[in-house]
Symmetry: C2
Subunit: 368 residues, 2 copies
């Protein structure tokens, strides 16, 4: 069985590495063969929306998936007669557009931020008047790693925000002064089987995830997160891995966004869970039973952003797991990650902060 993957970034690469032992084959489509995925599996090089290439990918694959949510849904819709696509395009479409995403949360009774669609200078003023300050103006589409966002703290910020983002359809939402950020990774099999990973506790800096610790052992939060994930998975008749990111505010979860795919905050599952998110995604879309999502110890994952630290001294750390995505260094780019698993949350935290001080001093200073 061959799995076709639109997008050959690190997520696709880790899917292939997890899927090979299951006896699955992989084929990527991406602009460039020098992508993380193209280094470990065959790749069709060209535009992600190229109908001829997508047709070829569909023809050579038994099921089609994607490792990035900002791909044109229409291009994939044309294939839906020719191949099976998972996760479902309805979920992809909803996740691509922050307005559809918020409406889906509302529809399903999943608590989320206050928001308003913004498509003119006037509607921005109305939105700010109704929702208040501070707030965040976001492009409805193509936002990731903090891109396409502007925080408004005072009335004077409206002009600057509008000048920067006004050319795209926008969404304004209140800025949640959160106590913490968490995410849940859930998976639904072809036959409707559901599984949930333990909650992830996430730290972002400049809009980019820097540190995830899991399991984040709060039973009440875990229940809320799983309830939300269950609603979304069932609503979309979803197949594959789905991620929801939440703000935690006074013991309540507020859904921030969802991703119809494996997620950076789940990278710890490679070593820290019985079955990784990548394996469970490919199991689900290949129609196989899901694997156990049980945590093996207490894990921390630190992203390696912008430049890779020197490998040798870190590999000498007992039990440190190194993940290099094979990408060219560039400021703000996710190039790899490291994971540690400890027997207790306390020693995990101590070790994670020590490692953070070595590989991401700015985040370490911010957390100190």
């Amino acid at each position: 069985m061959t799995i076709g993957i639109v997008g050959a970034g690190q997520l696709g690469r880790m899917m292939a590495l997890a899927g090979y032992p299951l006896g699955l084959d992989f084929l990527f489509l991406d602009k460039d063969a020098q992508t993380p995925g193209g280094q470990v599996a065959p790749l069709l090089a060209g535009a992600l929306a190229d109908p001829a290439l997508l047709g070829q990918l569909a023809q050579r694959s038994d099921v089609l998936t994607f490792d990035w949510e900002n791909i044109p849904v229409e291009a994939l819709e044309n294939l839906s007669g020719k191949t099976r696509i998972a996760p479902p395009l309805r979920a992809l479409a909803a996740a691509q557009d922050r307005l559809s995403e918020k409406r889906t949360f509302e529809l399903l009774g999943i608590p989320t931020t206050k928001y308003a669609a913004v498509d003119s200078r006037e509607s921005l003023e109305l939105a700010v008047a109704s929702i208040g300050l501070p707030g965040v103006l976001k492009t409805r589409r193509m936002g990731y790693d903090g891109k396409g966002q502007f925080v408004l703290r005072q009335p004077a910020d409206l002009d600057r925000a509008w000048n920067e983002l006004g050319k795209s359809p926008l969404l304004y939402e209140n800025l949640v002064p959160f106590d913490a950020e968490v995410s849940v990774i859930a998976v639904r099999g072809t036959d409707g089987e559901l599984a949930f990973y333990p909650l992830n506790l996430n730290v972002h800096r400049d809009g980019i995830l820097r540190l995830t610790r899991a399991p984040h052992g709060n039973a009440a939060l875990t229940r809320q997160a799983q309830r939300a994930a269950r609603k979304l998975l069932t609503h979309f008749q979803y197949v594959g891995v789905l991620t929801i990111e939440f703000f935690v505010k006074r013991g309540r979860l507020i859904a921030n966004e969802m991703a119809p795919r494996v997620h950076n905050s789940g990278h710890w599952t490679i070593e820290g869970a019985e079955t990784s998110q990548f394996e469970n995604h490919v199991r689900a879309i290949a129609g196989l039973p899901l694997g156990s999502t049980r945590a093996r110890g207490h894990s921390a994952m630190i992203n390696l952003v912008g430049e890779m630290p020197t490998r040798g001294p870190l590999l000498a750390e007992p039990g440190l797991h190194w993940h290099d995505y094979g990408k060219t260094a560039r400021p703000g780019r996710k190039l790899g990650h490291i994971t540690i698993c400890e027997n207790a949350a306390k020693s995990r935290n101590q070790r994670a902060f020590k490692l953070l001080s070595r590989v991401d001093r700015a985040t370490w200073l911010a957390l100190r």
Copy 2:
């Protein structure tokens, strides 16, 4: 850094899958592109001893290794000026020839079987007279998975054994009525750093490994095994993973053979150890620090030989890890393996036997 691997079987495949996250690239040389390794990394197709292909492999690689010990040492020796080769060819040469292997054990004071070289009908008679019956006549070269062996139990067996194997240089050794079979997997880094995995308890049937359980927690046996491994690693100024298989007889280890490579009895380390044997082999030959060899729980590995069982019901087993090498089914051929990790040795054993009854009934019946 690119690692060139001579031989693209399942061992090479698992090396590549373990090495990709370290940021390493791989290039295989094998007869056929439809090999397990060729499905996950680029491959040069042709004879393993082809000087032109070996030259190309050496030129495109920073270090050269092998996933099979029965490759012509002379062909590799011609490359030794052009590239770094690890493990060292002296160790490969010693392991290829059962006589050199026994002499190395003797030289280093590692207890082994009684043996004699056999190169004529007369020398076979002399060997049997001196060592006694029962014994095993083995080809000195190209033996694996029980191939090229003949058990002699009575004088009448000499003729049949000689007729079957007499065309090759041979070795006769006493048949050890062992209590158990164990193996140790050890690794030595480029800078001389040593690490040892816990002992493996192995069950063979028809000369093929069927079941490994680890850690086999006997401190005295572990000490003996590590002492032997340390001697060999130091003797050869070894770099990479080395495996020694032993018979256990009344609490003493008797070395049976060594393999200058990762080993089937170490497949459990993928999920069952902090760092897998495959990752540690590529770390060692790439000049990187070794990873922790600590066991994570109690593991059992069952080989899938001859035909793959139906995947679905087994993948539904919680925490069962599936490894399909992507090979064509053939009687006696190792096609894949499964691994489970449990919190205690007792539950691990119970589960392993239950699984064995499903995927390898003959071995299960033999062990019952």
